[in-house]
Each structure stands twice: as structure tokens, then as C-alpha cells.
């Protein structure tokens, strides 16, 4: 009866594939460098991805409904900038933090209002607010950085728990991941998200409050972006208006790689979380063997395309239609050529940089 089961066998398999990939990447990384399995390193690397993770949770909701929020990184920068600016004016840091969270809710509300009530396409709305909110961040801080946060505050981003130094931000992420999973699977609200993603009209006819549901998920997105901004500011000990530039695409990448259909209607929370772990592990591992950010992007981008291509080819292979199978051969060929290109590029860039 739960929506998880209605997603069909494939997505179950997709999550197993992610687990397998994580396992493989772990082995490869551990063999490539002795620093990978070092607890301290692993924990520090984990904290690098928690802001992304916090923003990913509501993005799963938004993409399941068939919408998108491109403004998350901009909201994060705007809210963190407000907090930094207020703190520099002498406001208590906790009050400033509350103001940042409130601004996040407000920014999300604006997105949600335009999408849900005015019924504008979310891609365009959030493309607009993507620029608008980022601009607000610059308006607040100019090109300076807000500094001088108290230690009690930076604990949010730098603090850790226990002898293994488990990052506090990861604790925060786990708490919210549990909350968002419960909402998705155990509440009426979660079911409504799948309903809206699959057939908004039929949902409306069945009494689903489509407008309120959409409004709420965009507000969640604003709130979590603000929280991510706070954690990031605490981790860096400073805030600049250009923080997290381009992070929205990393967030969307994790969600889609996790098997959430970009056209809405299907996907799981655990898939997205596994994808986050996979991306984090790969980036960390590649960083350890000195592959720069651009090289890492090539790999992640390739992985994303594969994640969409594999199910597509798989579906057509099993469809048994001769005509479709012909097309499938072509598509597989393209995929193989891309794999080859990718491999060449990957090793080329690695030898170039290691040598």
C-alpha cells in the first residue's frame, strides 16, 4: 500500500545498484590511497556534503511533484548573508540565525506562491529568484565577508561528537533525513506528493489540496536552504555572498542520480541519500588522488547521464518490440561511445595531473 511499493521493481533495483557502486568506489578508493579509510578524513569529508544534503531533502519532494527549485543555493547565500550582516550590526547571533530561517521561509513562500497559486512554471519562477536572491545577498554584504562568529555558533558547522569526531552537521542531516522520510512515507502529505507528480488533475478531483501542498514544499525548501546556509557559515566561520554558487545543480544531480524521476511521480528518499553518499565518496576519493574539481565534474556528470540512460535502455530491452529494439541498439551504441570517451578523458586528466 505504501507508495514505495507502487514504484515498481526497477527503482528497487536502482537502489541496489547505488549500493553496489558505493561498495565499489569504497574498495577502489581504499586501494588507491591509504588516506581514504582514515576516520578523521572521512568525517571531515562528510561535513563537506551536509549543506548539499540538507537542501537535497526538500528537493526530493519538489522533484517528485514534477517541479524544480533552482533558487536553493541563492536562498542559502541570501539567508546566510542576512545573518552575517545582522551579526555585524551587533545583533545577537542566535537572533540573527532565527531571522535567516524566517527569511528562508519567506523566500520559499514567494517561490511557492508564484508556482502554486499564480500557476507559473517552477523552472522559470526559480530561475528568476535564483538571480534575485543571489543579488540580495550581494546587496547585503557587497564584496566583503561577514566574520567573527562566536565559537558556540561555529560548533554547528565545525563541531563534532564522540571520539570518532562525528560531525554535528551530520547529526543534523540525519535528524532531518528521518523527518523528511517520515513525511514522505507515513503522512498523507507524502502520498499527495506522488499524486501531484503523477496526475495533478486527478488529485485535484479527489480533493487533494494541490495549491497548499506545493506551497509547503517550496517553503520547506526555503527553510532548509537557510539552515544549510547557517551550517556553511558556521563551518567556514565567515559568510560571503558568493557561497554555494552552482550548488543547486549538485543538489538536483544527487536527487536525479538517486532515481527520482525528473518528470515527477516516482522516486525514493533512500535513493537520493545513497546518491549523496556516492557523490560524496567519489569526490572525496578523487580529491585525495589529486583530481581537481573540473575532473570530478566530468565523472559526476557522466554518472548522471548513465543513471538516466540505463533504465531507458533496460525498459526497451524488456519491451520485446522489434522496432524499439532497433532504437535500443543505437542508444546503447551511443552509451558505449560515451563510456569510451569518458574513460579516455578520465585517465588522460589523471595522468596529466599525477605526473
Amino acid at each position: 500500500m505504501t507508495s514505495k511499493q507502487s514504484l515498481g521493481d526497477f527503482f528497487k533495483r536502482w537502489e541496489w545498484l547505488l549500493v553496489l557502486l558505493i561498495f565499489l568506489v569504497t574498495i577502489v578508493n581504499a586501494r588507491l590511497t591509504p588516506y581514504f579509510l582514515d576516520t578523521r578524513n572521512l568525517m571531515r569529508a562528510t561535513s563537506d556534503f551536509m549543506e548539499l544534503g540538507l537542501m537535497m531533502l526538500p528537493m526530493v519532494f519538489i522533484i517528485i511533484t514534477g517541479n524544480i527549485d533552482l533558487s536553493v543555493a541563492s536562498m542559502m547565500a541570501m539567508c546566510a548573508s542576512l545573518m552575517g550582516w545582522l551579526h555585524m550590526q551587533g545583533t545577537n547571533i542566535w537572533v540573527a540565525m532565527a531571522a535567516a530561517l524566517l527569511l528562508g521561509l519567506l523566500a520559499g513562500f514567494l517561490n511557492g506562491y508564484l508556482v502554486a497559486r499564480v500557476k507559473l512554471p517552477s523552472l522559470v519562477v526559480t530561475l528568476g529568484t535564483f538571480a534575485f536572491y543571489r543579488g540580495m545577498a550581494y546587496a547585503l554584504l557587497g564584496d566583503q565577508a561577514a566574520r567573527g562568529y562566536p565559537e558556540s555558533f561555529t560548533f554547528l558547522g565545525q563541531g563534532s561528537i564522540g571520539s570518532i569526531r562525528f560531525p554535528f552537521s551530520a547529526v543534523l542531516f540525519i535528524i532531518f533525513a528521518v523527518i523528511f522520510s517520515l513525511i514522505l512515507y507515513k503522512l498523507k502529505f507524502g502520498r499527495y506528493l506522488y499524486v501531484i507528480g503523477n496526475n495533478e488533475e486527478a488529485g485535484f478531483y479527489a480533493g487533494v489540496n494541490v495549491v497548499r501542498t506545493k506551497l509547503l514544499i517550496f517553503m520547506m525548501s526555503g527553510f532548509m536552504s537557510a539552515l544549510a546556509g547557517i551550517v556553511l557559515a558556521a563551518r567556514f566561520g565567515s559568510t560571503r555572498p558568493d557561497i554555494g554558487t552552482g550548488l543547486e545543480l549538485a543538489v538536483i544531480t544527487a536527487v536525479v542520480l538517486g532515481g527520482v524521476s525528473i518528470s515527477g511521480g516516482s522516486g525514493t528518499m533512500i535513493g537520493a541519500i545513497l546518491a549523496l553518499v556516492l557523490i560524496g565518496e567519489m569526490r572525496f576519493g578523487m580529491g585525495l588522488i589529486n583530481i581537481p574539481g573540473q575532473g570530478q565534474n566530468i565523472v559526476i556528470g557522466f554518472l548522471l547521464i548513465l543513471s538516466i540512460l540505463i533504465p531507458h535502455v533496460g525498459r526497451e530491452l524488456t519491451s520485446g518490440n522489434v522496432k524499439v529494439n532497433k532504437a535500443m541498439v543505437g542508444k546503447t551504441a551511443v552509451a558505449l561511445i560515451m563510456i569510451a570517451l569518458f574513460a579516455i578523458f578520465f585517465f588522460w586528466s589523471r595522468t596529466l595531473l599525477i605526473a
Binding site: 500500500m1 505504501t2 507508495s3 511499493q5 507502487s6 507515513k186 503522512l187 498523507k188 502520498r191 506522488y194 499524486v195 503523477n198 496526475n199 488533475e201 486527478a202 488529485g203 485535484f204 478531483y205 479527489a206 480533493g207 487533494v208 489540496n209 511521480g265 516516482s266
Partner: protein
């Protein structure tokens, strides 16, 4: 006329979709220089026949001769090359291209490999002039009225030297002046030797324009008559034909209090001044042609598209229904006409679909309770005898009849007092149809108030206690079960003069 070779000669044409016969052993003869009307109820097979002629569908059996030569169209393009053109109710021009481009699309005159705009505008202008239409060929199609767009489509048909022009309900969105203009042009084409196939629900138009008429009923050929030899009653008799059988298990139920009262309800652009009362235990039928505004009435009562004027009263109290949630809270259920888009969420399971409107009741302190939910879904599915391997099966995998049962299970789970059924048996098999009718009768006998919209006259007559007829957004007639006949309903629905009523 019969010694000539017909432009189109069809014999024994059959076509079925998924085991359902849309056309069965149909014949048709169309001669050049005649306007030939095609007549039949909704779903009689007119559209399918047109699509066979224009190459959209390929017949399963039967033969088509064009000017005495056997033809087989694999696609609409081949039919067009043979001089068959069609214009529809909704014109299909490219809105951002000019009239000239629309007329000559794909056949633009070239000069040195480039489109010769001057030549094109000249050619298009000549065609429009031949039709006696005063339009500038440079105007964008977007800026034209529906009638003008149809003229452009006719001009396009002329430009390919169409031998057969099919007009599928061309007048339904035209004003009477525009209809006159269309008729003038049609008559001109006839005089020039074009064969015109004309479809309209307005019988008076057929008398004004057509030479002969072929009637279809339930996908079968009924007969072809000279227009001069038939009367309105005769045509309706041919369309409706069948005797009302005893298929309908309507039980006599004592009619209770007024539950729903609709008072001068209007939605701008859809319907106007609709007033009626619906009683407990009553099945109120609503007949009319497709597009008469019946579904819009249902949607406004259910809050999908709230009324712009007028009142809805439930148990005598005025209520404001501005969303489906509100309607559901007031005890209204609505089984929509469009099962696939409005009734079901096809990619989701039967269970998810059935429990969707009442998720709150299957929750414990806000948390979904899978056990309760499952029990409710299983109960609903069993009560309606849905044939599926389980409630985990996706709605998309079910047959039309079973899908409709799931929709019914979904709405019955809300325990409505007022149930609106919009085309409850459209496109479903005979067995399921009988089951749905039995269920309706049963529900009414338990005191449910049912408003049933149906385009199928035998269903309306067989199931309803009273019957309302709508035409062009207005409530035109009300009949009691005892004195309604198919002929009377058809006349009220098509707007045929009342003097014709016996």
C-alpha cells in the same frame, strides 16, 4: 445519379478497436457534386468512418474505391494526395503563419530555391477570391475568427484540387451569419463538382444543405435517403432506431426530500441559468449533445470550476462550493467523464487510487495506517468485483470497465449522499455496463441522490426517474420518466422545432 461512378464507394467496411466494433459492414456512396450528410448519435461511428476515409485509420475489412479504382490509404498523406481533404470543428492552422503560408504549406512556390513570397500571396489571394472571401493573405492565422480559419482551410482544400471535402461539425462554433457564409461556399463547391461529406448534429442544417443522408447506428449502416424524401421524425427514427430493451434494472424507489437544489447557476462561457432539484433516492438523467454544457454543470457543483452566478442549496441551505474538498465535505461525489485524466492516477496502484479521497479516515493521529487503508481498498474492490490480481496492481493495467469500477469504488468509499455520474458507462463492455446500472439502482434505493449525465439515450431513458435536456448551455426541457421517448429527447437536444412534437 446512380448510373454515375461514385467518387467514393465503400463496401463492407469494418473496424474494431480492442475487440469493440466501431464500424461493422458499413457502406457509403458519395458522388461528385453532392453534399452528403452523415448522421448518427454520439458514438455511432461517424468519426471512425471519416478517419477511415482520410487514412487516419485503416479498415480491418472491406474495400474503398475512389472513382472506380481500389485504394488503400496507409496514412493521411496518401489520402490527401488522392484529393481527400477534411476540415474539423476546431481548425488546425499554424497560428503564427500567414494565411497564404497556411494555404500553401509544404507546396510553397519556389524561385531559385527560395520561397517566392509574392507568387505565394498572389496564388492564395486568387483562391480566397474564388471563394468570395475578403481576407488579406498576409494576415496571421492567429488573428482570424474560427469561421475565417475554416475558410482558409477550405481554400487549402481547393488548392490541392480536393475531390472530396469532409466537413466534420464545421458549424458548431459559428454564428448564424457565419453559418450562412459557410453554406454559400459549400454550395459553390458543390456546383463546381466537389463531393462534400457534411456532419452536423443540427438537423435543420441538413435540410438546408444536404442532398442525401446516410445514417449510422452503433457502428452499423442503417440506410441512405434523399433529403427530399425524409422528415425530421424519419431521421431521428433512423438514428435512434432500436427498441428500448429491458436491460435496465431500474427499481421503483420512493422519492424522498430535496437534497440538492441548483438555482440559476451559471458559469461564464459554459452554461447559463440552470435550475433543478434533486431528491433522495432519485436518479436524475441529464441528456444533451456533447458540448451542451452538462459536464460544466457537474464540475461547478463539485467545485472544480465554481459557478460565477447562482446558488447551490443542500438540504435547503445555501452553500458555497469553491473546491472539490468542500464538495466532498458536503457529501458530494463526482465520477468524472474523463476517467484516464480526472478519475484515476494511472501509474499508481488500485489501492492508492481507491483510498485517495479519504486518506484522513485511514490515518491514526495523522499517521497513515496501512492496515486500515488496505482493508478499505480491499472492501471497495470486492464490493464492485474489480477484476485484478490485487490492490497492488497499477490502475493503468486494467481494462476500461475495471478502471471505471475502481473510480466508482473510490467515490463510494467517501459515502456520498449526492453522486454525480458523468458518462458512467462510456467505453466499457456490456457486462460491466449492466453491473454499473445495477449498482446505480441499488444506491438510489438506499436513498442516494444521483445525477447521471449520459449521451446514450437508452441509458438515460432506462435509468432515470426524471430527465433534463441541455442544449448549448441552456436547460431546454424536462421530462418525466413516463413520457420521455428517444425521439423527444433527441428533438430537445438538437433544438428541432417543438411543433414537430406529437
Amino acid at each position: 445519379m446512380n448510373d454515375k461512378i461514385p467518387v467514393i464507394r465503400m463496401r463492407h467496411v469494418s473496424k474494431s478497436f480492442g475487440g469493440v466494433h466501431a464500424l461493422k459492414d458499413v457502406q457509403l456512396d458519395i458522388f461528385s457534386g453532392e453534399v452528403h450528410a452523415l448522421l448518427g448519435e454520439n458514438g455511432a461511428g461517424k468519426s471512425t468512418l471519416i478517419k477511415v476515409i482520410t487514412g487516419v485509420h485503416q479498415p480491418d475489412e472491406g474495400e474503398i474505391d475512389l472513382n472506380g479504382e481500389r485504394v488503400y490509404f496507409n496514412n493521411p498523406r496518401e489520402a490527401q494526395h488522392q484529393g481527400i481533404a477534411a476540415i474539423y470543428q476546431e481548425p488546425s492552422l499554424f497560428p503564427d503563419l500567414s494565411i497564404a503560408e497556411n494555404i500553401l504549406v509544404g507546396r510553397q512556390p519556389l524561385r531559385g530555391g527560395r520561397v517566392s513570397w509574392g507568387q505565394m500571396n498572389k496564388e492564395a489571394g486568387a483562391l480566397l477570391k474564388r471563394l468570395g472571401v475578403d481576407l488579406n493573405p498576409r494576415t496571421k492565422a492567429r488573428n482570424l475568427s474560427v469561421a475565417q480559419q475554416q475558410m482558409v482551410e477550405i481554400a487549402r482544400a481547393l488548392s490541392v484540387e480536393a475531390r472530396v471535402l469532409i466537413m466534420d461539425e464545421p458549424t458548431s462554433s459559428l454564428t448564424s451569419n457565419e453559418v450562412d457564409e459557410l453554406f454559400r461556399i459549400t454550395k459553390q463547391l458543390r456546383a463546381e463538382g466537389t463531393a462534400v461529406i457534411f456532419i452536423s448534429h443540427r438537423l435543420e442544417e441538413l435540410f438546408a444543405l444536404a442532398d442525401r443522408v446516410t445514417t449510422l447506428r452503433d457502428g452499423e449502416y442503417v440506410g441512405t435517403r434523399e433529403m427530399a424524401d425524409v422528415t425530421t421524425e424519419g431521421l431521428i427514427q433512423m438514428m435512434v432506431g432500436r427498441k428500448l430493451d429491458d436491460l435496465f434494472p431500474k427499481q421503483a424507489v420512493e422519492i424522498g426530500e430535496v437534497v440538492l437544489e441548483v438555482d440559476h447557476l451559471s458559469v461564464n462561457g459554459a452554461f447559463k441559468d440552470i435550475s433543478f432539484k434533486l431528491h433522495a433516492g432519485e436518479i436524475l438523467g441529464m441528456a444533451g449533445l456533447v458540448g451542451a454544457g452538462r459536464t460544466d454543470v457537474a464540475r461547478s457543483i463539485f467545485g472544480v470550476k465554481p459557478a460565477t452566478a447562482g446558488e447551490i442549496k443542500i438540504d435547503g441551505e445555501t452553500v458555497e462550493i469553491n473546491s472539490p474538498q468542500k464538495a466532498m465535505a458536503l457529501g458530494i461525489g463526482y465520477v468524472p467523464e474523463d476517467r484516464q485524466n480526472h478519475g484515476l492516477i494511472l501509474p499508481m496502484t488500485i489501492g492508492d487510487n481507491v483510498t485517495l479521497p479519504m486518506l484522513d479516515t485511514y490515518a491514526t493521529k495523522g499517521w497513515l495506517n496501512p492496515k486500515k487503508e488496505k482493508a478499505a481498498a480491499v472492501e471497495g474492490v470486492q464490493k464492485l468485483e474489480v477484476k485484478a490480481y490485487g490492490i497492488e496492481q497499477k490502475a493503468a493495467e486494467l481494462s476500461g470497465g475495471n478502471q471505471q469500477k475502481v473510480v466508482l469504488a473510490k467515490w463510494l468509499s467517501t459515502n456520498p449522499r449526492i453522486l454525480i455520474l458523468d458518462e458512467p458507462t462510456r467505453g466499457i463492455d456490456v457486462g460491466t455496463k449492466a453491473a454499473v446500472h445495477g449498482l446505480m439502482s441499488n444506491l438510489a434505493s438506499q436513498g442516494m441522490a444521483i445525477l447521471m449525465i449520459s449521451s446514450e439515450l437508452p441509458e438515460v431513458l432506462g435509468m432515470s426517474d426524471r430527465i433534463l435536456v441541455m442544449r448549448e448551455g441552456l436547460l431546454t426541457k424536462e421530462f418525466d420518466r413516463s413520457d420521455a421517448t428517444q425521439e423527444k429527447l433527441m428533438m430537445a437536444a438538437t433544438g428541432t422545432v417543438e411543433a414537430a412534437l406529437p
